[in-house]
């Protein structure tokens, strides 16, 4: 079929349609002042002289938005149906793969929903129609992401432990305070800081690391539904990245006085976001049985190449510099995933996912991808854990770890250039001592101690008796609503046994 050269003439070009249906629908209030209609866009000190300068390169209208989003959902739900009907869960690479998706389900959808709420607020309270409309689209996207993630993963809940009470765990369980505190920190900031925190630092700088190699990994491990919702969500993310980029440029272009404010937010939110996705490093390198790429390679490709060598050269024009603690992140790329997974391994008896020692195949891959650092970690951690297993035990840390006051991750990170010396920073504020995992987290606290002194730190709360009262781990697990098979060691778990049974390898009952 050949396409006829004369296409039906459109009445308006894409640009004219966009302008007519977004910017031109705006009006200037006359019965009330602008400050009364938009009361939240001045207190942060950001100066805006002309809201009409806010551009949306996607030039979406409500009609186009609905049309394409509906098509995305149709495609996704066709895949989900086919997967469920064909017993797709039996075709995963291994049941232990599902542990990564348990953490995802427990830690992410609820914050997609939070993002939906906060973008709805921006869709009402941003002064300019371009910003309001882009925020409205993103608000609807985020709601769609929460729903599609929950729908997709609900299929696995029929067959695997660790998925049934995610909506409850997300507010209570220790490691899930990491994403919770991150998003609540952003939501309690002002609208412009939110845009730099979520729109720019998270969506543009960092989510590629969460969604792109991780979802490609889902594809590689037979998890068709996750790959599909991941890429479907990611198609919206491209718009979100654009909104974030527009936000930072708009603020910098509107007034030079905005630049130092934006820079500090960027410094803060890069580090907050980077620490949050440390969990993804552990998931990618240790929980995926088959690997698309290592965390280190993903970091080089999606952060160093794209952002440091691409984006930040562009932002130099406005006087924006790369984030304050970026070198620390670069220096950590060889050790981050080892440290995170070792923390998860030691404490998975109090978690809704299971862990296990990397098997021979995993170890060969780790050795190949981390030739400098893997042998060190193998010796100090995994060889010892293996010895305990060989003697019929399983190493769990019997204590409660100290948490970083800002990122809330257990203090398992190390000094730069020295992978065996734990990093510990301290600040004293009004006579109380606060502890941090890194210079980045300490810097964030010192800038806003009044905010971060209020952190709801799970370990402190357990010791204060606020998590099921006294009674040790059983009381806490009951308060968390952890079932007996949700966490601990993978080998011998229900998930493991079921997996063997599905594939005709179940051990004979004695």
């Amino acid at each position: 079929m050949t396409v006829s050269p004369e296409k039906p003439a459109r009445k308006l070009s894409m640009k004219q349609r966009y302008t007519a249906l977004t910017h031109d629908l705006d009006w200037t209030p006359t019965y009330v002042t602008e400050e009364e209609v938009f009361p939240f866009t001045t207190f942060e000190g950001i100066k805006v002289h002309d809201w009409s300068k806010w551009e949306d390169p996607f030039r979406l209208t409500v009609e186009a938005y609905n049309k394409y989003q509906a098509e995305k959902d149709r495609r996704l739900y066709a895949v989900l149906d086919g997967f469920a009907q064909s017993q797709g869960q039996t075709g995963l690479t291994d049941a232990r793969y599902m542990n990564a998706m348990k953490i995802f389900l427990q830690g992410i959808p609820v914050h997609e929903y939070n993002a939906h709420r906060n973008f709805a607020y921006l869709a009402r309270y941003a002064n300019g129609p371009g910003a309001r409309f882009a925020a409205l689209c993103q608000s609807m996207d985020e709601l769609r992401h929460a729903q599609t993630e929950i729908h997709t993963l609900s299929h696995y809940n029929k067959f695997f432990d660790g998925m049934h009470d995610w909506h409850h765990w997300t507010d209570r369980v220790w490691y899930l305070s990491v994403p919770k505190s991150f998003f609540e920190d952003a939501m309690t900031a002002g609208p412009f800081e939110w845009l730099i925190a979520i729109g720019f630092s998270f969506e543009y700088l960092l989510t590629n690391l969460l969604f792109v190699p991780f979802m490609s990994g889902a594809s590689f491990n037979g998890d068709l539904p996750t790959m599909t919702f991941g890429f479907s969500a990611q198609s919206d993310e491209s718009r979100h990245m654009t909104l974030g980029l527009e936000a930072i440029k708009f603020m910098c272009e509107q007034d030079e006085d905005n630049v130092p404010i934006v820079q500090e937010w960027l410094d803060k939110w890069f580090w907050r976001g980077y620490r949050l996705i440390a969990l993804v490093a552990g998931m990618m390198d240790y929980m995926h049985p088959k690997h698309v790429m290592s965390w280190k390679e993903a970091f080089e490709l999606y952060f160093e190449e794209q952002m440091l060598n691409g984006l930040f050269k562009d932002l130099e024009y406005y006087g924006i510099k790369p984030p304050r603690h970026v070198q620390w992140a670069i220096d950590e790329k060889e050790i981050l995933s080892h440290q995170v997974y070792w923390v998860l391994y030691q404490f998975s008896h109090a978690a809704a996912f299971s862990t296990t020692i990397p098997n021979a195949e995993d170890q060969a891959w780790l050795e190949e991808n981390y030739p400098e650092t893997w042998p060190v970690f193998k010796k100090v951690a995994w060889d010892k854990a293996q010895k305990v297993m060989d003697n019929g035990g399983r190493y769990f840390n019997p204590g409660l770890p100290q948490l970083c006051t800002v990122c809330q991750i257990p203090m398992g990170f190390t000094e730069p250039g020295d992978p065996l010396t734990q990093c510990q920073r301290q600040s004293v504020y009004e006579g109380e001592r606060y502890d941090f995992c890194s210079d980045g987290c300490q810097w964030i606290f010192d800038r806003e101690p009044v905010k971060y002194r209020q952190s709801w730190l799970p370990v402190h709360q357990i010791f204060q008796g606020n998590c099921g009262g006294p009674g040790g781990l059983p009381a806490v697990a009951a308060w968390y609503k952890l079932g007996p098979n949700d966490g601990a060691e993978y080998l011998g778990s229900n998930d493991h046994k079921n997996w063997l049974a599905w594939h005709g390898q179940a051990p004979k009952e004695a």
Binding site: M1, T2, V3, K7, R10, S13, M14, K15, P57, F58, R59, L60, A64, Y68, E71, K72, R75, N208, F211, V212, P213, M215, S216, G217, A218, S219, F220, M227, F231, Q234, S235, E237, S238, R239, M241, T242, L245, V292, M293, E305, Q306, M307, N309, G310, L311, K313, D314, E316, Y317
Partner: protein
């Protein structure tokens, strides 16, 4: 800054499926220095300076009308900036 802008890489990640084959071929044809990397489920296209997607090139290969908005069904991620997104062309480049 022009030289630096021209030299820096830009790129786009697309879902790799039958639906998007014509789009990928059109991008290959219109961007001679394209680098291609296949990953499970996706394809990563990068080049230096700017990446262009022409509506007519996609339509020629697809054999049906194609709105540039349809890129939204294919895209996973990108780096650079959408400096142009119109009825007939999409351009990704750095601004400065």
């Amino acid at each position: 800054m022009t030289a630096a802008t021209g030299a820096r890489p830009v790129g786009i990640d697309l879902q790799e499926n039958e639906e998007n084959r014509a789009l990928v071929e059109a991008i290959e044809a219109d961007n001679p220095d394209l680098n291609i990397r296949h990953m499970p489920g996706m394809i990563r296209l990068t080049t230096n300076g700017k990446l262009v997607i022409n509506q007519s090139s996609v339509e020629d290969r697809l054999g049906r009308p194609w709105e540039t908005h349809e890129l939204q069904l294919a895209i996973i991620s990108y780096f650079g900036e959408f400096v142009e997104w119109d009825d007939d062309v999409i351009v990704i480049a750095w601004q400065h």
